[in-house]
C-alpha cells in the first residue's frame, strides 16, 4: 500500500488540441474475397489524438486490472475548463466496463472549448492525497503508510516552458495538500509523487519538448518528473506502444513469449502452424533481474523470455515445486493466437513450457540439452497464471529415508486410519458461508483436535481400534462436537456390546506388543488382562473426549458405571495428562488422582462372584449385569420412602406394627401402587432377603458403591435376575 504503483491517476487533456486529427488514416473497409470486384472501398477515417490516447489508455488499464485485480488502483481525470473524475478509488469502479461507460459520457473534445489542464492537475494531485480503503485499513491497524502515487498526464504541450508551468503547478498542489492533510480526514500527505507527462502530437507536427527520465523537480524534490514526447504515427499505435512500455516499467512486468503454439490454420483446418503469443506478467521470483532498457520507445514490446510450448498433458495429481506464479495478460488480447491460447487454458488445460535460449551457445536452460520443464501455464478460477517451476537441486537432495529416523522401524502404523482423519478434515473454501463469529480455520483445527484426542499411532498399542465392527459407532460418534440423543444411545449400545463380548468370553484381537502384561499367564487370565486393558483404554478415550460436552461426559459416566468405577468427578484437568499418556503408549495403567479407587477391593469383597468365576480379576459378569439393570432401574424406581427416612440403609418395616396394626398395613400397599413393576419386585426381593436372610445375604451385595450408599440387592446365581 506504500508502493508508488498503488495509486495511479491519469489526467487526460480534453482541450481542443487533443481533438486534432492524428492525420493517420484507419482502413476499416478492407477487401475480402466475398466482396464483388469493382466496388470502390469507402474512404478511411482518421483517429483523433483523443481517440488514439483513450484507446492506448484502455489497453494500459486492461493489463493492470488483468494482472492486479486488487490493490493497484487507477483513477481518471478529464481536464478542460473544469476537471471531471471518471471514477473513484472504490474497487467497484476499477474495471474496464465502468471506465468505458464514463468515457462515453465525456465524448471527443470540443473544437472551440478553451482552458488548460491546470484545474485537472490540481484535482489529480488531490486524488493522490485521498486515502484508499487499503490504506485506511492499514492505518487503522496502526501501521504507518507512506503515501506515494503517480500521475500520468496525457496532453499536448506548446514547449518546454509550458512543461515547466505544469510541473510547478503540480509542486504547488502537492505542498498545498500536504498542509491541508493534517486538518482533513481521509487526506494523507503525499510522500512522493511521480509525474509522467506524455506530450502527444499528430503526424507531421514539429512541436517538441525535451524528453527526460525521472528527475526530482527543482521546486519540490518530492515530485519526480518524467517527460515523454510521442508522435501518433501508424494509426496511433505509437502512443499505445509507449504506454505499454510504461505499464511494463511502472508495474515491473516481464514480457514473455510463448512460442511454437501449434494451432489449426483458419483456412486449412487439417494443417497446423506454430504461433507465438506475447504475454505480460509480474516478474516471477527466482528469475534474474534484468535491467530493462529505457522505455522511450514506440516500437512493439519485445520478449525478455522465450518459453517453448511443451505438452498439455500434465498430471494434476502431481505437486510441482513452483517458485512463483503470476497472472498474465496477453499483449494483443484479440489476436487469433492469443484467443486460441487463452480459450484453451480457460477450458481447464495446463501446458508445460520450456525455457528457450536464443543464444548460440546453448539450447535449453537445463544442462545437457535435455528437455526440461521450466514453466507451466494454467488457469485457476478463470485467471491464467504462469508458474515458474523449481529447476534447481533441492537443498536436501538425496536425504536419508524417513524410515531411517526415529520411529522408522515401527511397522504397524495406522496409516489407513489416519487417511480417514485426512478425509474428514478436508478443507473447503467456506468464505462467508459459516455463521459469523467462528473463523473456519479455527473450526478446522478444533475438529482435527477432536479427531485426534485419543489416537494411538500403531495398531499394536490399541485394542479398541482393532475391534472395528463393535466399537466403530462409538468412535465415529464421540469425535463429534455435538451429540444427538441417537449418538449417545449408539455409544451406550457399544459399551453394552463390549460387556456382552466379555460375558461370552469372546477373544479380543491379539495385541502383540501390549507389554509384559500377558506374558506367562494362562489363556484365561490373558483374556482377562486383555479385557482389563480394553476397558482402561476405552476409559482413556472417553475421558479424553469428556470435556467436549455434557453428553460426552454422560457417555464416560455410563461406561464407568458399567465397569463399576462410579461417576467421574467431572473434571477435565486430567485430560491433558491423559494426552501425554496416550502418546507414550496406551498400555500403561492410567490413574488420575480424581478417578475412583481401583477395583481390587471389590474383588475381595465380592466373594460370591469370585466363586462363580474364580479366575476373574475385577468383576463377575453377573455383577456387571446386575449393575447395568440396576442402573436402568434406578432411573425408573422411586426410592422407598421408608428407607429414605430411616437411619442407615435398612428401613424398619411396620414400625408401628405393635401400636397400630391397621395403619401399618396400609403403607406397603400404597407403596406397591406407586412403584413400577421391577421396583416392586425388587422391593419384594429386599423384603425377602431382609426377612429371610440366610445364604443369599452376601450375594446381594455387589460390592459397588453407589453415591447413595450401598443398597442391598437381590442376589441370583443365574444370569436372569428377575422372575419372568
Amino acid at each position: 500500500m506504500s508502493d508508488s504503483d498503488h495509486k495511479t491517476v491519469f489526467l487526460i487533456d480534453h482541450g481542443p488540441a487533443m481533438g486534432e486529427s492524428s492525420k493517420q488514416m484507419v482502413e476499416y473497409d478492407i477487401a475480402t474475397k466475398s466482396r464483388p470486384q469493382g466496388v470502390v472501398p469507402l474512404a478511411p477515417v482518421a483517429k483523433s489524438l483523443w481517440t488514439s490516447s483513450i484507446e492506448a489508455l484502455c489497453e494500459y488499464c486492461r493489463i493492470v486490472w488483468d494482472i492486479f485485480p486488487h490493490n493497484k488502483l487507477l483513477r481518471f481525470v478529464v481536464g478542460d475548463t473544469s476537471a471531471r473524475f471518471l471514477n473513484s478509488w472504490n474497487k467497484e469502479e476499477q474495471n474496464l466496463n465502468h471506465l468505458m461507460k464514463s468515457l462515453s459520457g465525456v465524448g471527443p473534445p470540443l473544437k472551440k472549448a478553451d482552458g488548460n489542464i491546470m484545474v485537472g492537475l490540481v484535482s489529480a494531485v488531490g486524488a493522490v492525497a485521498q486515502q484508499t480503503s487499503a490504506q485506511k485499513k492499514l492505518l487503522s491497524s496502526g501501521s504507518s503508510v507512506s503515501n506515494r502515487g503517480r500521475i500520468v498526464c496525457i496532453t499536448q504541450l506548446k514547449n518546454d516552458v509550458h512543461l515547466k508551468t505544469i510541473v510547478d503547478c503540480a509542486c504547488d498542489a502537492v505542498n498545498k495538500h500536504c498542509e491541508s492533510a493534517s486538518t482533513n480526514e481521509g487526506i494523507l500527505p503525499i510522500d512522493s509523487l511521480e509525474l509522467v507527462i506524455i506530450h502527444v502530437k499528430p503526424f507531421g507536427s514539429n512541436s517538441a519538448i525535451t524528453e527526460h527520465s525521472l528527475t526530482p523537480a527543482s521546486k519540490n524534490p518530492k515530485v519526480l518528473v518524467e517527460a515523454q514526447d510521442v508522435k501518433a504515427t501508424r494509426h496511433g499505435i505509437a502512443i499505445a506502444n509507449r504506454l505499454l512500455h510504461l505499464v511494463q516499467r511502472h508495474f515491473d512486468l516481464s514480457v514473455t513469449s510463448i512460442t511454437g503454439i501449434p494451432m489449426k490454420e483458419e483456412q486449412h483446418a487439417n494443417s497446423s502452424a506454430n504461433y507465438d503469443v506475447l504475454l505480460l506478467h509480474r516478474r516471477l521470483p527466482g528469475t534474474a533481474i534484468r535491467e530493462s532498457e529505457h522505455s522511450m520507445w514506440d516500437g512493439e514490446l519485445s520478449s525478455t523470455m522465450l518459453l517453448k510450448w511443451g505438452t498439455p498433458k500434465i498430471n494434476y495429481n502431481e505437486l510441482y515445486h513452483c517458485t512463483g506464479a503470476a497472472r498474465v495478460s496477453p499483449v494483443d488480447v484479440n489476436s487469433r493466437p492469443s484467443l486460441c491460447l487463452t480459450n484453451f487454458l480457460l477450458n481447464g488445460r495446463s501446458v508445460s513450457l520450456e525455457h528457450w535460449n536464443n543464444r548460440p551457445d546453448g539450447g535449453t536452460a537445463g544442462s545437457g540439452g535435455s528437455r526440461q520443464m521450466t514453466h507451466m501455464i494454467s488457469c485457476r478460477g478463470s485467471d491464467i497464471f504462469l508458474h515458474a517451476l523449481g529447476i534447481f537441486r533441492p537443498p536436501f537432495e538425496d536425504p536419508p529415508n524417513i524410515s531411517d529416523g526415529p520411529g522408522g522401524k515401527v511397522k504397524d502404523y495406522r496409516i489407513s486410519d489416519f487417511g480417514e482423519i485426512i478425509k474428514h478434515n478436508h478443507l473447503l473454501p467456506l468464505g462467508g458461508r459459516v455463521k459469523s463469529g467462528t473463523l473456519p480455520i479455527d473450526g478446522a483445527m478444533a475438529k482435527l483436535d477432536r479427531r485426534t484426542r485419543y489416537w494411538p499411532l500403531v495398531y499394536s498399542k490399541s485394542i479398541i481400534f482393532n475391534l472395528a465392527k463393535t466399537v466403530d459407532p462409538l468412535l465415529e460418534a464421540i469425535v463429534k462436537e455435538n451429540l444427538t440423543p441417537d449418538d449417545v444411545l449408539q455409544c451406550q449400545r457399544v459399551i453394552y456390546n463390549l460387556i456382552g463380548l466379555e460375558r461370552d468370553g469372546a477373544a479380543l484381537p491379539l495385541v502383540t506388543s501390549a507389554g509384559s502384561l500377558s506374558r506367562g499367564i494362562n489363556k484365561q487370565s490373558k483374556r482377562e488382562e486383555q479385557y482389563k486393558s480394553m476397558w482402561r483404554e476405552l476409559e482413556d478415550l472417553l475421558r479424553a473426549h469428556s470435556s467436549t460436552s455434557s453428553k460426552h461426559m454422560d457417555i464416560l459416566d455410563c461406561m464407568l458405571e458399567c465397569i463399576g468405577k462410579g461417576k467421574s468427578s467431572r473434571t477435565s484437568s486430567s485430560v491433558d495428562k491423559l494426552k501425554s499418556n496416550v502418546r507414550s503408549g496406551a498400555n500403561e495403567i492410567y490413574e488420575s488422582p480424581e478417578s475412583p479407587p481401583p477395583l481390587k477391593k471389590s474383588k475381595t469383597e465380592n466373594e460370591s462372584s469370585a466363586r462363580i468365576r474364580p479366575q476373574k480379576g475385577t468383576q463377575s459378569l453377573l455383577s456387571m449385569w446386575t449393575q447395568r439393570v440396576e442402573n436402568t432401574n434406578s432411573q425408573r424406581h422411586v426410592e422407598f420412602y421408608g428407607r429414605l427416612a430411616s437411619d442407615g440403609n435398612k428401613a424398619v418395616l411396620y414400625p408401628n406394627f405393635e401400636e397400630d396394626p391397621n395403619n401399618a398395613q396400609n403403607t406397603p400397599a400404597n407403596q406397591d401402587r406407586q412403584t413400577p413393576r421391577h421396583g416392586h419386585h425388587r422391593y419384594q426381593g429386599h423384603h425377602r432377603s431382609g426377612t429371610g436372610g440366610g445364604t443369599r445375604e452376601e450375594g446381594g451385595r455387589s460390592g459397588r458403591n453407589t453415591p447413595q450408599g450401598s443398597k442391598p440387592k437381590m442376589a441370583k446365581k443365574t444370569q436372569k435376575p428377575y422372575p419372568q
Binding site: 484507419v26 476499416y28 466475398s34 469507402l42 474512404a43 482518421a46 481517440t51 483513450i54 484502455c58 486492461r62 486490472w65 468505458m100 461507460k101 465524448g107 471527443p108 499505435i237 499505445a240 521470483p285 527466482g286 494434476y316 502431481e318 517458485t323 506464479a325 495478460s329 494483443d332 488480447v333 484467443l339 478460477g381 478463470s382 491464467i384 537441486r393 537443498p395 536436501f396 538425496d398 536425504p399 536419508p400 524417513i402 529416523g405 526415529p406 520411529g407 515401527v410 495406522r414 496409516i415 489416519f418 487417511g419 485426512i422 478434515n425 478443507l427 473447503l428 467456506l430 458461508r433 467462528t438 473456519p440 480455520i441 478446522a444 483445527m445 475438529k447 483436535d449 489416537w455 499411532l457
Partner: protein, 484 residues
C-alpha cells in the same frame, strides 16, 4: 542451507602470525585452513545434511571443491590452497553470484563464510546499486577475521568490512577470531574457541513440534527456514489446519522448501540408553507421511500468525520418499485459487439448514464483475487489425440476415459503445455508410428483410450517436403477425 567457505589466499595471508622459534610455520594461511577444517568437522558432526563448497580467492577465484556432503573430500580440498596475489573481493562476489545461482537458483538462501585477515579490497567504483544487494541470491555473509578487533579497527579494515556487510542489507556478521597479544600457544586455542562459539551461535538445527490436533511429533527442518521479510517469528509449534487435494492446491508459489525429519523429543533423548528404542517408538510424522502419500493429499500448516505452508510426501527416488514442507509467501491470501486461508474449513462447518446446500469447491473464483479481459469480449483497437476484425465480424453476420440478426445487432452495439467511449464518432458514420453499401450489394436471392434490417441499422447507428452509452440498437420489427 548450503554453505560456501571462501578462504582468502592473498599474499598478506602468508605473513607469520607468531615469531617462529622452533621452526614451526604458523602463517595466517595455516590458521585459515585450521578454521576450514574445524568448520567442516562441525558440520560433519552436527549438520550432516548440509552441502558445503570450498573456494579460495585472491585476484581470481579457485574452486577447491564443489557443493558436496563428502566431508572427507572437502577436507582434502582445503589442503590444495596456495598463496597467491592480492585479494579482490569484487571478484569473489561476482564468482559467487554465478557459482551459487548455477547450483541452487536465485531463491535458495545460502551462507557464505569468508576466512580472511580482514584486508578485503573493495573498490569504491563497483559499489552495488542502491536497489540491489551484494548477492543475487539470499546470502548471509559471515566474515571471520584472523585478526584482533583492535587491530582491525586501527587498520581501518573494520570500517570497510562493515561497509561490505551493509551492502548485503546487513545480513551476516563479522567475527574476530583472535585477540591481541597472544603467544603462539594461545593462538590456536583462542581461535578454536571463538570459532566454536561462532558456529554454535549461527548454525543451529531448526527443530519444531509439528502438531496435528492432539498428536504431535518433534521434527527437524533442513534447511532451517528464514523468517519472512516482515520479521514475523515462527510459532512455537507448526499446527496442521487440515488437508487438501494435490489437484486443488495446484502448484502454489513457494518461498522455500524444507525436509521434515522426525527427531527424538528433547525430553526423552536425554537418556542415551534410549536411542536404541527411538527407532521403534512410533512417530506421528511417519503416519502423516504415509497417509499423505496414499491419499495423495497435502496438509496445510500454520507456521506463524500470518504465514502458512503445505506438507506433502516428496518422492526423492522411485523407492524413497520424504516429508517436505513448502512455505507459502506471507499472508493468508498468498495463493489466489485457495482464497483466504483463514476461510478454509471442513464441510461439517457448513450450517445444516435442512435444504441441500451447495458445497463450495476449488478453485476459488474471483469476485463477480471482475472478469479478466481474455475471459470476456474486450475491445482493443490500438492495432488496425483489432478494429478490422470487429468490422469483418459484423459484415459476416450482415450477409446472413435476417437469421443472424441477434449476433449482428449484438456486435454492432458493442462496436457502437466502444466508438462512443473512444470518442471515435467518425467511425460510426463510416460504419453507417458501410452498411448502406452492403445494402446495395445484396444478391438478388437475399430475403427482403435483410435489406430492411441493414438500412435500419445504418440509419439508427448514425442517428443514435448522441443517444448515450446504454442505448441499444434493436432489430427492426418485421413480424407483424400478432397485430392481426
Amino acid at each position: 542451507m548450503p554453505t560456501v567457505i571462501a578462504m582468502d589466499c592473498s599474499a598478506s595471508m602468508h605473513s607469520w602470525y607468531a615469531p617462529n622459534k622452533e621452526g614451526k610455520v604458523l602463517s595466517k594461511l595455516k590458521l585459515a585452513s585450521e578454521c576450514g577444517i574445524q568448520i567442516l568437522e562441525f558440520f560433519a558432526e552436527k549438520m550432516k545434511l548440509e552441502h558445503l563448497a570450498v573456494l579460495s580467492f585472491s585476484s581470481d577465484v579457485e574452486k577447491l571443491s564443489d557443493f558436496s556432503r563428502d566431508y572427507a573430500h572437502l577436507k582434502l580440498s582445503i589442503a590444495k590452497m596456495k598463496v597467491r596475489d592480492k585479494s579482490l573481493f569484487s571478484q569473489l562476489v561476482s564468482y559467487l553470484n554465478q557459482f551459487v545461482v548455477e547450483t541452487w537458483g536465485y531463491m535458495e538462501p545460502c551462507h557464505v563464510i569468508i576466512i580472511t585477515d580482514g584486508r578485503l579490497s573493495w573498490p569504491e567504483e563497483i559499489m552495488v546499486a542502491p536497489s540491489r544487494t551484494l548477492f543475487e541470491f539470499p546470502g548471509n555473509l559471515h566474515i571471520l577475521c584472523l585478526e584482533s578487533t583492535s587491530s582491525l579497527t586501527s587498520s581501518g579494515c573494520m570500517k570497510s568490512l562493515k561497509n561490505i556487510l551493509e551492502q548485503n542489507s546487513g545480513k551476516g556478521s563479522i567475527t574476530s577470531l583472535l585477540k591481541s597479544r597472544l603467544n603462539e600457544h594461545e593462538v590456536i586455542s583462542t581461535m578454536k574457541n571463538e570459532l566454536e562459539k561462532f558456529l554454535n551461535d549461527r548454525f543451529k538445527i531448526f527443530e519444531i513440534n509439528l502438531k496435528c490436533g492432539s498428536l504431535s511429533s518433534q521434527v527437524a527442518l533442513y534447511p532451517a527456514p528464514v523468517a519472512d521479510k516482515t520479521g514475523e517469528e515462527f510459532d512455537d509449534s507448526f499446527q496442521i489446519i487440515g488437508f487438501l487435494d494435490v489437484a486443488d492446491v495446484g502448484n502454489p508459489p513457494v518461498l522455500s522448501r524444507h525436509l521434515l525429519s522426525p527427531v527424538a523429543d528433547k525430553e526423552t533423548s536425554q537418556n542415551p540408553d534410549e536411542t536404541e528404542d527411538l527407532a521403534v517408538s512410533p512417530a506421528m510424522a511417519i503416519v502423516l507421511h504415509g497417509s499423505l502419500r496414499i491419499e495423495n493429499k497435502v496438509a496445510l500448516v500454520k507456521v506463524s500468525p500470518n504465514n502458512y505452508g503445505v506438507i506433502y510426501s516428496w518422492p526423492c527416488s522411485k523407492t524413497k520418499s520424504n516429508l517436505v514442507l513448502s512455505l507459502l509467501p506471507p499472508g493468508a491470501e498468498s495463493v489466489p485459487w485457495l482464497g483466504n486461508i483463514r476461510q478454509l474449513g471442513p464441510s461439517s462447518l457448513l450450517p445444516s439448514t435442512g435444504k441441500k446446500i451447495e458445497i463450495p469447491t476449488f478453485p476459488v473464483q474471483p469476485r463477480k464483475g471482475s472478469k479478466r479481459s481474455y475471459a470476456q469480449p474486450t475491445v482493443a483497437w490500438t492495432r488496425p487489425t483489432g478494429l478490422q476484425t470487429d468490422i469483418q465480424k459484423i459484415l459476416r453476420s450482415a450477409k446472413k440476415l435476417p437469421e443472424k440478426s441477434q449476433v449482428f445487432y449484438k456486435d454492432l452495439n458493442r462496436l457502437r459503445r466502444a466508438a462512443l467511449a473512444f470518442g471515435f464518432h467518425e467511425l460510426l458514420e463510416g460504419i453507417s455508410s458501410l452498411l448502406e453499401r452492403e445494402c446495395t450489394l445484396l444478391p438478388g436471392t437475399a430475403q427482403p428483410e435483410a435489406m430492411l434490417q441493414l438500412s435500419h441499422a445504418a440509419r439508427e447507428l448514425k442517428a443514435s450517436i448522441g443517444a448515450g452509452y446504454e442505448h441499444n440498437l434493436e432489430p427492426l420489427k418485421t413480424d407483424f403477425k400478432f397485430n392481426r
